[in-house]
């Protein structure tokens, strides 16, 4: 029972990191229609930055904050490349984001080498009902919960959030009321970078991160995001938590080498089901 509880909490922590990646994907996709395959890169950039900054002797807090901001800048740059030129189709932008991801490999290898790097997080663990839980896991869950609350307030309550929602809902009409849709798209990319960065900073102390960790992150994040059809953050959050728990359980009960396959398998099933449902809907409305 205590093993189950500790797997569950570990799984939730993993799921939270996936949820942050997924929320970045959803934010960017809603506003711009682009599936951003460089989303995992933002987390990697943030993770590697934290590790370097802490290595240089900068204090905790400052290092993490700077790393998250670096990821936001990476998001903005990716956005400039992907949607900076007016009239780029979402499909062309998607290919650009793939290209940015590959280019990022080269840059990361030059700057940080190809070996995995880690960073110290919160040390210690607490015992709840006989289960040992690393404090860092609790930190991940807490920060993710806070991030999602802030995100919901931002989109639901602030004027800027409304303008972003307007772009997501009807870009044509958004232009008509004077909203610069391209600038809002760039803002969405920066926000996506920020969210990816938070995920990276939180995960690095748990799992050493290297230039190609983005593949695992994007596959998991994408799997969670397709749960919410790439547009619904709350469903994506539940998808991510489910995925995190399922993977951790699989690992805990002896299928450790198959985590990525679990994610891929779930993703494919969800996509097939949703594709079927969507074509049924479009037939009805036509």
């Amino acid at each position: 029972m205590s093993a189950f509880l500790s797997y569950l909490l570990n799984g939730l922590a993993v799921g939270c990191a996936i949820a942050l990646i997924a929320s970045g994907l959803v934010t960017i996709h809603r506003v711009t229609g682009v599936v951003n395959f460089a989303q995992g890169t933002f987390a990697v950039v943030a993770g590697l930055c934290t590790s370097s900054l802490l290595g240089l002797g900068f204090p905790h807090g400052l290092s993490e904050l700077a790393a998250v901001l670096a990821a936001a800048v990476a998001g903005l740059l990716t956005g400039l490349a992907a949607i900076g030129k007016r009239g780029t189709t979402p499909l062309a932008s998607l290919i650009v984001t793939l290209g940015v991801g590959v280019l990022a490999y080269a840059v990361e290898i030059v700057l940080w080498g190809d070996q995995p790097r880690s960073a110290p997080g919160l040390a210690g663990s607490v015992t709840v009902a006989g289960a040992h839980i690393q404090t860092q896991h609790l930190l991940v869950i807490g920060v993710t919960a806070a991030t999602f609350v802030l995100l919901a307030l931002f989109f639901g309550r602030t004027y800027l959030g409304k303008a972003l929602t307007a772009c997501a809902s009807n870009p044509y009409a958004a232009r008509v009321v004077g909203i610069d849709v391209r600038r809002m798209g760039l803002l969405a990319f920066a926000l996506g970078g920020l969210l990816g960065g938070i995920a990276g900073v939180l995960v690095t102390p748990l799992r050493p991160i290297s230039f190609d960790t983005d593949v695992t992150l994007i596959v998991n994040g994408f799997a969670a995001a397709v749960f919410g059809a790439l547009t619904r953050p709350v469903i994506a959050l539940f998808g991510a938590l489910l995925l995190g728990v399922a993977e951790t359980m699989a690992a805990g009960y002896g299928y450790g080498s198959h985590q990525l396959e679990v994610a891929l398998g779930l993703m494919i099933i969800v996509m097939i089901v949703q594709a079927g449902r969507r074509s049924a809907i479009s037939e009805e409305t036509v």
Binding site: R86, F154, R157, T158, Y159, L160, K162, A163, T165, A166, A168, S169, N170, Y172, A173, A174, R175, V176, V177, G178, I179, D180, V181
Partner: protein, 256 residues
């Protein structure tokens, strides 16, 4: 006359695949005037409308708005200069209430900065309250006050158009562009729209409306421009235009 015109279109052309949809069209709308562009289906009305709003680029010609050259500006820049548009299709923002939709209409003229909006500083909150109050006034005018807190995408089509009108008014436009405002509306809704347009005209608002329905337009417009096959075939007061043999031929030719 050029000094006092709010909108001036001169020699504008646009073709699709070698066929002109709009060819060498010139028209001007004076400040405070209600001008209507009519024409049979396929006359180029929608193309002209999109050229003015910036959703299509003109191949030749100039468009000036209150002295600014606008024909190379993106749609959102034209909106910020004071062009507000009501589309024929339902273009409301889903996932927001009716009031929030109208509030977004003020986007072009609010200068609430990124930081103040994100942090919800007091100044920003005050702005937001003012905008909400203004949105309620606009909703009252179009008769949607009691719907303010409902989700916008659940409104019937006629009310979605009224909502777009409220959104346009909340932007405090210098020119209101209406794209086939009466199409698809029932008698009573149509009547309400007509009296609203009359009220706006009385308030001095400059309006350009594109319309298929000649009867609707004759009652509202100070001046009518008739398009046929992408060109202007008549331009004048309603009574004069209605008696013009070219106009009659264009409409009768279409009907037969």
């Amino acid at each position: 006359m050029p000094e006092e015109s709010a909108l001036s279109v001169s020699g504008v052309s646009r073709s699709f695949g070698g066929v002109y949809a709009v060819r060498d069209v010139s028209l001007s709308v004076a400040d405070g005037e209600v001008c209507a562009v009519i024409g049979p289906n396929g006359a180029g009305k929608s193309t002209l409308f999109n050229l003015i709003t910036g959703h299509l680029a003109a191949e030749h010609g100039q468009i000036t708005f209150h002295g600014h050259r606008v024909d190379r500006l993106a749609p959102h820049r034209r909106a910020r200069l004071g062009m507000s548009i009501v589309f024929q299709a339902a273009r409301v923002f889903g996932g927001m209430t009716v009031r929030e939709n109208v509030m977004v209409g003020s986007h072009g003229r609010t200068r609430a900065g990124f930081v103040s909006a994100a942090l919800r500083l007091p100044r920003h909150r005050r702005d937001e309250r003012e905008i909400a109050a203004e949105a309620d006034v606009a909703l009252e005018r179009v008769g949607l006050a009691e719907w303010a807190d409902r989700p916008a995408d659940r409104l019937p089509i006629g009310q979605q158009r009224a909502l777009q009108l409220a959104r346009a008014l909340c932007a405090r436009p210098r020119l209101l562009l209406l794209d086939e405002p009466a199409s698809g509306l029932r008698g009573e809704e149509r009547e309400r729209l007509a009296s609203l347009v009359e009220e706006l005209r009385a308030g001095g608002l400059t309006i350009l409306l594109i319309e298929h329905d000649v009867a609707f337009v004759t009652r509202l417009a100070d001046r009518i421009v008739v398009l046929d096959l992408g060109q202007v075939i008549a331009d004048g007061p309603p009574a004069e235009v209605r008696a013009d043999p070219l106009v009659l031929a264009a409409y009768l030719g279409q009907a037969s």
